[in-house]
């Protein structure tokens, strides 16, 4: 059964659950022996819920980098690759210990360095290429994990893995798990919002609620026009919307009164009121004109680069949604099927995607900080995998699941750090290799969850974002103590 019944809910949570002080709950951070099954109120699935212990972050903004950016062209500085430009892959690195299918097949045996200028930034002195001048100014806030690896070298499965923890489609996504765990801090908005022009490869499986209740599915906000599809009726019916709903609700009330104890009927009555309130609240969030011109400019809203302006609108919407209590906002950057997927012309692809995303991301970090939200907002920047240092075609790079960089910033994150390392050409993670589930475990931990204890019974087994119990670890050094 997906939901417990209302009665079961009340019995299991007891009357005082909501009233338990946070401090009392946090005192219990010390592992409870039996993980408590999370109980969702069927009439109010997005009611705010407390995590397992004091969270470092209360919400997430996930900047998904579509297509697989070449992270040693952006962050992971590889002087050896510069030296070996045009040469073959060193024999010692050619051997193929990799579990995942061969990325060598479509590449030349020729290393290719990018044409970027590199410099150290901030007090931490971390390297960033000149592709990301704005992000570089925030380097002391970023924790880079330079030793990620994926279980597939293919977009679909790897994108599913990054978003849902499994390469096979069908599992709940990160955002669904978090709204399941935390509910929403704003009952007039969905708990999990997506912003995209082009969504992830593999489609809605990337923001699916999987086997979790549908209340936790991702809702798309548009970056232009009415923020949610079907938010309003056609204009000529807009003036009668309220009285039309009122008529239906009056009949619904009578219908429900004749069927006492049928909570779905009550739930549906409530859902129409929520829809009506959402209409107002979402429209308000979409009003970017409420922001100052300076803010709009910071995000690049009026930039002549239309792709940047679009990404800027999405980043600004992400801040406005986060501010209003949405738990999980995810932005896909792509404007076409390609994104960072630079099989040919690596230089152009990276210039284009960097130009699109760099300034808005920096503006978002600034804005969150100025509003005092960065401390409690976890910002993640990650693609589905990285790219090969070997050349594909004449100036391209193939997918590389063996080693790539992601970064985190904000809530509870150790800024100015870099964890793990790839080999000297950026091909494979060699120091502290991290599977995607460790990134997920780290994220859950930042939000106050013991990853093994956030589970959902499905088909007879407890399903978790991080898979089999204790098969993961939080990545050491990412979170402040």
């Amino acid at each position: 059964m997906l939901y417990p019944s209302r009665r079961e809910f009340l019995t299991r949570t007891g009357s005082g659950f909501a009233g338990v002080a946070l401090s009392a709950l946090l005192a219990e951070e010390a592992r409870s022996a039996i993980p408590q099954k999370l109980v969702v109120d069927p009439l109010n699935p997005l009611a705010e819920r407390l995590p397992h212990f004091a969270p470092r972050a209360k919400r997430v903004i996930f900047l998904f980098q579509y297509g697989g950016p070449s992270t040693f062209d952006l962050f992971d500085y590889k002087p050896t690759l510069l030296e070996l430009n045009g040469k073959s892959v060193p024999e010692s690195l050619k051997k193929h210990p990799d579990k995942v299918g061969g990325v060598f097949v479509h590449c030349k045996d020729e290393l290719m360095a990018g044409p970027w200028k590199w410099a150290q930034h901030g007090q931490s002195g971390q390297w960033v290429s000149d592709l990301l001048p704005h992000t570089a100014t925030h380097i002391d806030e970023l924790c880079q994990i330079r030793s990620m690896f994926s279980d597939s070298s293919n977009h679909g499965p790897a994108t599913h893995l990054m978003n849902t923890g499994a390469i096979l489609a069908g599992k709940p996504s990160l955002g669904s798990w978090l709204t399941y765990g935390l509910g929403s801090a704003n009952q007039n908005l969905p708990g999990f919002v997506l912003l995209y022009k082009v969504g992830g490869l593999g489609g809605s499986a990337n923001w699916s609620n999987g086997f979790l209740p549908a209340a936790f599915q991702g809702t798309q906000f548009r970056h232009e026009g009415p923020p949610v599809l079907n938010l309003q009726p056609p204009a000529h019916l807009a003036g009668v919307q309220r009285s039309t709903i009122d008529f239906a609700q009056a009949l619904n009330r009578k219908h429900a009164d004749l069927r006492p104890g049928m909570l779905d009927l009550e739930g549906r009555i409530a859902s129409y009121e929520l829809a009506y309130r959402m209409q107002a609240e979402a429209l308000d969030i979409g009003e970017l004109s409420q922001e100052t011109r300076a803010t709009q400019d910071a995000y690049g809203l009026h930039d002549e680069n239309k792709e940047k302006a679009m990404y800027g609108r999405m980043c600004l919407l992400a801040r406005r949604l986060s501010e209003k209590g949405v738990r999980f906002v995810q932005i896909y950057n792509a404007v076409d099927k390609l994104g960072w997927d630079a099989h040919d012309n690596n230089t152009d692809y990276h210039r284009r995607n960097a130009a699109q995303t760099d300034q808005p991301i920096a503006a978002l970090l600034d804005d969150l900080k100025q509003r005092g939200l960065l401390d409690t907002t976890l910002v993640i920047w990650a693609g589905e995998f990285g790219r090969t240092p070997m050349m594909q075609g004449n100036n391209g790079r193939n997918h590389n699941p063996y080693g790539f960089t992601v970064w985190l910033a904000g809530g509870g994150v150790n800024g100015g750090t870099a964890i793990g390392a790839t080999d000297e050409i950026g091909l494979r993670a060699v120091d502290q290799p991290q599977p995607v589930k460790n990134l997920h475990a780290t994220l859950l931990t930042a939000l106050g969850f013991r990853p093994d204890d956030l589970f959902f019974e499905h088909h007879g087994r407890p399903e978790r974002l991080t898979g089999v119990a204790q098969s993961w670890q939080t990545i050491p050094g990412v979170l402040r103590g």
Binding site: A169, H236, F247, A248, A275
Partner: protein, 715 residues
């Protein structure tokens, strides 16, 4: 792994165990040893026990066998069944349950007027014979086998022939194909047919093997040398789906390790998987009958002859006589186009008489093969290798052996699992509340004797699904009122004892189909390729694969969205495209399953986006407008000019949409509503639609009524 290694060695005792016969008491049974004698008391392991229908005592003992099974526990709990629902409720409930559509106003009136004793039985007969019955029942099975029309993953290409399987399922239910035959055909239809099909029935057996290909398929895996992973994923998925769909077993759990709760070892997953080891996708199996194939050959032979003659002239003219050459090519193309092509199916066969070896994968990892396993049934019941006889020299016979084992009256799960699915359709919840899990972590049967009796009756009736429906819907338990009463509610709030019927929400397809039906838009359609309804461009183009197809072409891979004209897509939802990366938005909003894993039971979540969809979406508004126009079209409707309170209009709206008359309060409210809305629309000439205020007000009323709980929930 350690335990499984122990199991593999004890499988050597298989023959011995078989000789002893009773797997449960046999000390050598590998599963008994593996789990040290525990886990053997799982209820579903024992075959259904044949029992006499109880003879209840008391004042008014029920005559119906189902009611008799429910009666004692009901009275012991001091509950009593509620009275039979009124006739309107009954015909609505039954018509929705059996056909997935609302009854028409005339049908309701006729049934209400028919006071004969046999009226209800006649209604059941009529609905079971309706072509709409198969379309409705197919939905349940298509969910269970996670049917879709596309591949899933990155490109999510269209499977142009998958619909034949969907139609096969509809036909099978409509024809009341015995369920054991339905099982055999899907698992091993190809092994049942020797050579080209001789009858349409044999052609259906080949189409049925589409079952083996319904899972997702990542066509890009080969680009990255991930074929082995893909094959392993495909086989795991097929194994898990088969176990869940037919047996109610959670085999996914033992892909990586022995089952945590049930008496299933890791090897059990791979033993089951081995039945499918030889499966080879086939897109070239001709499904025309021998006779039709002969007709095609006869039709094509003279054309081929002509083509051959023309072709001989080609080389000589290529350089010497350009115009003649071109003319020849044109003629050849014309002749080719006149040829009849044989119909093929999305099907599967074995790749040959010997299947590849199946290994247990350590932790489920296909790159870590360990012990070899033979194809074998659930080890606890049948520890040795399955006895497999190849029916012919081009196939292994493995799937036929599996199908025979599953489709057997001796299999403890098959009949129970299926009757439970049908029970769930009629009561909202199964007798076992977890239809895909009959294990320890699943629910216990609420009424085990009744479940067993139904399973045995089902087999005894020749696995007739229609008889099973008839059995259930003629019980008083089914026919009673669904409304709560406080006293019973306190004793049994979950209605475990069936003291009332359950209110059910319309599932996604039934909701959409009902909206089409009452608004008069529903187009006839009973088979054929899936139709592609219009979907907003921004949703289409947000899918990278569709974007690529629409903007730069996909080299014929068919990864796009191929919108059909609106007037063609107002058909029952079962005939709409099921595209994995982009389910039809209207259906998706109402808990349409993801078509990725087996769906045993639709969710019935209530969320705000559903309200937005049903109030505001272009389709929702279109349905309301069509219903309004349907009412206004009725010739000589006095509501048009004279009756200003619109009472006729209001009655029509209620009658068509809800199959009842409005009561007095509703009439007054609705009439004030119309008046008020006419005023608003009348003072807003800026609406710009050119519609009369009267029509718009009626549209508003229709929109409100189509959003009612009463429309979406069936008593």
């Amino acid at each position: 792994m350690l335990l499984t290694a122990a199991l593999a060695s004890s499988l050597a005792h298989a023959e011995e165990a078989r000789a002893i016969g009773d797997a449960f008491s046999d000390p050598q049974n590998p599963i008994r040893k593996l789990f040290r004698g525990e886990r053997l008391d799982l209820w579903s392991l024992r075959k259904p026990i044949a029992r006499e229908v109880p003879v209840p005592r008391g004042n008014n003992p029920p005559a119906d066998p189902i009611d008799a099974f429910l009666y004692d526990r009901l009275t012991e709990t001091k509950l009593s069944a509620t009275p039979e629902a009124d006739r309107r409720t009954l015909i609505r409930r039954l018509t929705f349950d059996l056909t997935g559509l609302p009854p028409t106003v005339d049908e309701v009136e006729a049934f209400v007027a028919d006071t004969a004793d046999a009226a209800y039985a006649k209604l059941v007969d009529r609905l079971l014979a309706s072509p709409r019955y198969g379309e409705r029942q197919a939905r349940m099975w298509l969910d269970v086998v996670r049917y879709a029309d596309t591949n899933g993953y990155e490109r999510d290409e269209f499977r142009p022939l998958a619909w034949q399987y969907r139609d096969y399922v509809i036909r099978s239910f409509s024809q009341d194909k015995p369920f054991d035959q339905f099982i055999r055909e899907q698992l091993a239809g190809d092994e049942l047919v020797d050579g080209p099909p001789r009858t349409p029935g044999e052609a259906d057996m080949l189409i049925a093997t589409g079952y083996l290909r319904l899972g997702q398929w990542d066509s890009t895996a080969s680009i990255f040398q991930e074929e082995d992973r893909l094959r392993a994923d495909m086989l795991a998925d097929l194994t898990n789906t088969t176990a869940a769909a037919f047996l109610g077993l959670t085999m996914a759990c033992c892909q990586c390790h022995d089952h945590k709760y049930d008496p299933l070892s890791q090897a059990d997953h791979y033993r089951l998987r081995a039945f499918f080891a030889g499966v080879k996708p086939r897109d070239d199996l001709v499904i025309d009958t021998v006779e039709v194939q002969r007709e095609i050959s006869e039709h094509n032979a003279p054309l081929d002859l002509e083509i051959e003659t023309l072709k001989q002239e080609l080389p000589a003219t290529e350089k010497a006589d350009k115009p003649r050459h071109e003319q020849l090519q044109k003629q050849i193309a014309e002749l080719e186009s006149k040829k009849r092509r044989p119909r093929v199916a999305m099907a599967a066969t074995d790749s040959g008489p010997d299947a590849p070896i199946t290994h247990v994968f350590e932790q489920g990892d296909f790159q870590s093969p360990r012990d070899e396993v033979d194809a074998g049934f659930v080890s606890l019941l049948s520890p040795g290798a399955a006895e497999i006889k190849s029916p012919r020299d081009n196939t292994s016979g493995r799937r036929l052996a599996l199908a025979d084992w599953i489709a057997s009256a001796d299999n403890p799960w098959t009949a129970r699992v299926f009757v439970n699915r049908v029970w769930q359709q009629h009561f909202g919840t199964g007798l076992v509340a977890t239809p895909n899990d009959f294990g320890y972590s699943g629910a216990r049967p609420a009424h085990p004797e009744l479940l067993d009796w139904l399973a045995i009756e089902f087999v005894r009736s020749g696995w007739s699904i229609k008889e099973l429906h008839r059995l259930i819907v003629t019980s008083q338990a089914y026919k009673q009122v669904s409304i709560n009463n406080t006293a019973s509610q306190q004793l049994d709030p979950e209605n475990n004892f069936y003291w009332r019927q359950n209110i059910q929400r319309l599932d996604a397809e039934t909701l959409r189909d009902s909206l089409l039906a009452v608004s008069g838009l529903l187009q006839p359609c009973d088979s054929g390729r899936p139709l592609w309804p219009s979907v907003p461009e921004e949703l289409r183009l947000a899918q990278p694969a569709i974007l690529e197809a629409e903007k730069s072409g996909d080299e014929g891979r068919m990864q796009g969205w191929y919108t059909d004209p609106l007037e063609q897509t107002d058909v029952r939802s079962v005939f709409l495209i099921r595209k994995r990366c982009l389910p039809v938005p209207f259906l998706q909003a109402f808990d349409f399953p993801d078509s990725i894993v087996s769906c045993a039971r639709r969710d019935t979540t209530v969320v705000a986006p559903q309200a937005l969809m049903l109030l505001n979406s272009p389709d929702a508004v279109r349905f309301a407008e069509a219903l309004a126009d349907r009412i206004l079209r009725v010739p000589g409707d006095p509501g048009d000019a004279s009756a200003d309170d619109g009472s006729q209009l209001i009655e029509s709206v209620f009658n068509i949409a809800l199959q009842r008359k409005p009561d007095n309060d509703e009439l007054i409210m609705a009439s004030e509503f119309l008046k008020h809305h006419r005023e608003i629309h009348g003072t807003n000439p800026g609406d710009g639609t050119g519609d009369s205020a009267k029509r718009l007000a009626l549209v508003d009323l229709c929109r409100a009524v189509l959003n009612l709980n009463e429309f979406a929930y069936i008593d």
